[in-house]
């Protein structure tokens, strides 16, 4: 039904465009028009499309509300108090109405299904009728209002501004919505587990006892081992990616010949395109055994899954983020600053260290922050290479685990969404979100402080 409606909408809009454009460009008066014919056409098309769209959206919402309330009156009112059973009943009604119900529906259910189907039919005709009326009304209005004085260009551009604003609004609202959904579940979690236990506890074992007589699954929700694990792995990753990425960027931007740069840069960026799950098994199957072997050679005991393996490979993963962004900001430093330093008798490396890097610092900092955010949020590599054991340790040769891995572990499989274990995932998500948010705020503050001096 909606495909047909939108085809109709499109045809009407194109028709409006053609008619309005023709009217605004015909005759000797064409030169006297304030706006070009195309703008009259676009404005008329918008005046047709927008009312039709509004009719469709409001119609769809109303249809759903009316159909549900009408259909449910046929059923037992006691059902409707429980939201879960209400939802199940609605699904059955829709199945009956569409003839997809398996088995024989009861009489009341059949009646409800018929009601639902009837409302849908009526609503469909109404929407078509009203939509067509709105479209034709819009078209008539648009054509009548075409005069040389009509500021069609300004009006249409206002409409475009509104459209852009709506898109920006959607992006912002989505973010806010995600934050709230996490916050609500986190609050529910904190009703079961005290926040102080969560934030300062040093034990993480989210298995809770299902029966009272079960032992060994006490359900400890201390986030500290996860925090240290995350910091340890991200720290190792940044120790790898920070220097390598930055130095690679300096070489690319300042020393490499254009030919080398034009091949090496895309290759480096391919590294950013490798799926992390591939890097994950590279870490687990190649790097981790190597580290274990090397550790045994030196007489160290290395867990088969170690923070070091995950950190090293994660560092490889984020090298392109550091190098590519740093390369861009270093290249963006004006040539005049390089000339200024060289003309004072500075060597190339003095110029880079004392002028170019300080000038590029804000951009380099933001590159680092982006890389850290990536590292903190990375899951697959850690799952495969660092294990699931929540050890409170700073030894890079031990197995550790991170926020993201625990969230994934908790939510994999069938879950009941009201146990402390499942809700803990949301609390972890919230802490993780807060963590990366703080990083971003710090990065922005640094950028703002130093950019003032630069521009």
């Amino acid at each position: 039904m909606s495909v047909l409606y939108f085809s109709l909408l499109l045809v009407m809009a194109v028709l409006a465009f053609a008619l309005a454009r023709g009217r605004a460009s015909s005759g000797a008066r064409a030169a006297a028009f304030h706006s070009r014919p195309n703008y009259h056409g676009l404005l008329a098309a918008s005046l047709v499309a927008i009312p039709m769209l509004v009719v469709f959206v409001i119609g769809a919402i109303l249809t759903k509300m009316i159909a549900e309330s009408q259909a449910l009156t046929a059923l037992d009112p006691a059902l409707l108090t429980d939201p879960l059973r209400r939802g199940a009943a609605l699904r059955e009604i829709v199945e009956v109405a569409n003839g997809r119900f398996r088995g024989n529906p009861s009489i009341t259910l059949q009646a409800a299904g018929d009601t639902w189907a009837y409302v849908q039919r009526v609503a469909r005709f109404s929407i078509y009728g009203l939509g067509l009326a709105a479209g034709i009304g819009g078209l008539m209005f648009a054509l009548r209002s075409i005069t040389p004085d009509l500021k069609a260009r300004n009006r249409f551009e206002w409409l475009v501004t509104v459209l852009l604003m709506i898109c920006a609004g959607i992006a912002v609202l989505t973010t806010i919505g995600i934050v709230f959904s996490v916050v609500f579940e986190t609050v529910r979690f904190f009703q079961k587990v005290p926040p102080m236990d969560f934030l300062t506890g040093t034990q993480w074992s989210p298995q809770t006892a299902i029966r009272a007589d079960q032992g060994g699954s006490s359900g400890a929700f201390g986030v500290v081992p996860l925090l240290t694990g995350t910091l340890l792995i991200s720290g190792i990753a940044m120790l790898v990616a920070g220097p390598i990425g930055l130095f690679a960027a300096i070489y690319m931007a300042e020393y490499a010949t254009p030919r080398f740069r034009s091949t090496a840069k895309p290759v480096l960026e391919i590294l950013a395109g490798i799926p992390t799950v591939v890097l994950g098994f590279f870490a687990a199957l190649t790097v981790a055994p190597l580290i274990r072997g090397a550790g045994e050679y030196f007489g160290l005991s290395v867990a088969s899954e170690s923070a070091l393996a995950a950190g090293l490979v994660m560092g490889m993963m984020i090298i392109p983020f550091v190098s590519s962004l740093s390369d861009d900001v270093i290249t963006a430093v004006p040539q005049s600053l390089r000339d200024g330093s060289l003309a004072l008798g500075g060597t190339k490396s003095e110029t880079i260290r004392r002028v170019i890097l300080p000038a590029a610092l804000p951009g380099i900092v933001s590159a680092f922050m982006l890389a850290i955010s990536r590292a903190v949020g990375e899951t697959m590599i850690v799952v495969m290479a660092a294990g699931l054991a929540a050890n409170l340790t700073f030894n890079p040769l031990d197995a550790v685990t991170t926020f993201t891995v625990q969230i994934k572990t908790i939510l994999v499989g069938d879950q009941e969404f009201d146990t402390a274990k499942t809700l803990a995932a949301f609390a972890l998500g919230f802490v993780l979100f807060f963590f990366t948010l703080t990083l971003n705020v710090i990065a922005l503050a640094i950028i703002r402080k130093y950019r003032e001096q630069y521009d």
Partner: protein, 268 residues
């Protein structure tokens, strides 16, 4: 008019009593392009020499040969004989970095570093270790800022960013930065082209003071400026020096027709 047979005209060059810089048959190629053709010119010590000529005539390119800034452009090739105090500055053993400490440069657009005013001036001395302690550095910075006529305006805000100054102040800061390493020669590449008339007047005044201690070579698009600040002038056209001599004589009584046309504003 522009198609005068350049090949048949020998450049009109006068000898200079005490040349600081001597160029003989200098040629510059940018890849395929022959930008400077057989330029020979003598630049006197302790004075101001200006290079004038229409856009793209090679005067800035030639200026950048004197401190080997053209080295930073890979496709640029310089041949010929270019000497400062009799020493060939393109000889293989010479380090261009050390040369540039002796031959400072001021650019067309003010290019202060994104550092404080103090650090901008202290940058060169730090590179070359010209001050052994904080007190000496303070004195050196103050001296350079005074010579550039900027100290009184900025003495209370030496910690402010150099980029916070006005355009004219920025350019004087760049001059202070250039003289802070006590060079022998200062090259100026259209130093006033981005400045308003008042700031320009200040820079010109400053150039007039500096010539007592430095050899100054200035490229300019303004013939009035060349007439006001320089004692000698060379006229460039299509990569060649057409005429060279005492400024007053070039402007009052040019010997070459191209020079006369340019000065009277008939082309360029």
């Amino acid at each position: 008019m522009q198609n005068l047979a350049l090949e048949t005209v020998a450049p009109v060059v006068e000898s200079v009593p005490v040349p600081k810089i001597t160029a003989k048959d200098v040629n510059v190629h940018y890849g395929e392009k022959h930008a400077i053709k057989d330029v020979s010119v003598d630049i006197p010590a302790k004075g101001v020499m200006s290079f004038i000529g229409p856009s793209g005539c090679g005067k800035s390119t030639f200026l950048r040969c004197i401190n080997r800034m053209n080295d930073t452009i890979p496709i640029c090739r310089v041949t010929g004989d270019l000497r400062i105090d009799g020493r060939d500055i393109y000889e293989p053993g010479l380090d261009p970095v050390l040369l540039r400490a002796r031959v400072g440069m001021v650019f067309q657009k003010p290019n202060p570093f994104p550092k404080s005013i103090y650090e901008n001036v202290a940058y060169g001395p730090r590179l070359h270790g010209l001050a052994s302690n904080k007190v000496e550095m303070d004195e050196l910075v103050e001296w350079a800022l005074r010579r550039a006529g900027l100290f009184e305006e900025v003495k209370d805000r030496l910690k402010d960013s150099g980029t916070s100054l006005s355009g004219g102040q920025q350019q004087r800061l760049c001059i202070a930065r250039a003289i802070s390493v006590r060079p022998e020669v200062i090259l100026m590449d259209e130093p006033c082209s981005a400045l308003d008339p008042i700031a320009t007047a200040k820079i010109e005044e400053l150039i007039d003071e500096l010539r007592a201690n430095f050899t100054i070579v200035i490229v300019t698009h303004s013939m009035q400026q060349a007439a006001r600040v320089s004692q000698r002038t060379a006229f460039f056209h299509l990569g060649k020096v057409i005429e060279e001599g005492v400024t007053d004589q070039i402007f009052m009584n040019p010997r070459h027709e191209l020079t006369r046309n340019y000065i009277t504003g008939r082309f360029g």
